[in-house]
Symmetry: C2
Subunit: 214 residues, 2 copies
Amino acid sequence: MDQTTTAPLRRDIAEQVTARVLDGRLPAEARINEVRLAAELKVSRTPLREALVELTDRGLLVAEPRRGFRVPPLNLDEARKLYPLVGELESLALRWSAPQDLLGLTDPLERQIDDMRAALDDERGLAELDDRWHAMLLSACGNAHLMRIIAQTKPLLKRYDVLYFGGPERARRSIEEHRDILTAIRDGDLNRAARLLVQNWVNGAAYLGRPAGR
Amino acid sequence: MDQTTTAPLRRDIAEQVTARVLDGRLPAEARINEVRLAAELKVSRTPLREALVELTDRGLLVAEPRRGFRVPPLNLDEARKLYPLVGELESLALRWSAPQDLLGLTDPLERQIDDMRAALDDERGLAELDDRWHAMLLSACGNAHLMRIIAQTKPLLKRYDVLYFGGPERARRSIEEHRDILTAIRDGDLNRAARLLVQNWVNGAAYLGRPAGR
DNA sequence: AACGTGATTTCTGTATTCAGAATATCGGGC
DNA sequence: GCCCGATATTCTGAATACAGAAATCACGTT
């Protein structure tokens, strides 16, 4: 229960800062005032800075030599590159999963798809379910480094995902793509599944230009 | 010229610690004594810790909750997964390069291959040349995040590369593979080039079990 | 003699402090 | 009235200090 004693403080802080970047409390282009942020989070500057260094290394923040940390600008071009990147990374993880382990996942994956169909109008819940579906899909991949890279890359994309969610149209389409991926896995056709998975992410990028909602 | 004033201290430190891990001054399994290491590097603990956090995030070190930082054990299984991972990442970067930019690189790439042929007996120089060749090959890829991931992942692999270098046999083979990749690029066949690039890394892993040297 | 227990010491994790650079402000000159 | 420069303030980057946890070692007990 008492995870606080075992988890370093910087882990918590990194998560909280990530949350603030994703939900806009730390907006794009904003310079980070370390003392103020430390005060808000009720921690001192040292573990905060360790967390900021971590996030900078992952690309969620940028460090300017003598000017501190900043939230990088939102950049459509970057987003259009991030979606395929995550897609290819996940696709790789899928190809490197043991086929028999994947078959064992098909039933829970199918149930999650049903849950998503039932939550079509709840954008936030849908995004959460989508995340979980992908996480479950990749849970059979034994390549720890690849999984770490994926986990560290996805938050970069979430900045754009939140802003440009495509509404029920994209959701419906994405759910159908999930179903196709699942079918390919059941067919034992990992290559097809991997291709469809990339496509699922690439299609997500297609909704980027449009303002949020319907 | 004066880059020292603009580069954060932790950058230097991270590089020095990386070097120590790669050349064995910080051996596998070793716990890191922060005060001693800080003294050796003539810096204080704060920037040192920031560098250690960075390297931990990249997987070059591990952090055990209340016990500090450690150099992770060498693990053949991990190495066998790292080679294909780097291969796939580089392959992706190659596929995402602009073909015309790649064509502009073919001549310098060819010259580097000649240099490598001339340095067949100099293991250290050869490794350096190999690194530069791959760096040049990927210099046309505009996906900054992918390039960052690659740069951060390669050092993990270098731990094994140093230990298990396969000698002139592997070198000769690798050089021929480079030549084939170059040919594929000149043919405008990026897919073949990307496939060969993966294979180049996968073949590197084949030498893993064998002790260093001839 | 071996094992368990407690004190001591070492080391990490976090907080606070200090120095130097960048930026903003205010005053003077044109 | 506007621009330029000196001064003051703010903020980062680095060093030091402190508290708490873990490992080690010695001592006493069985």
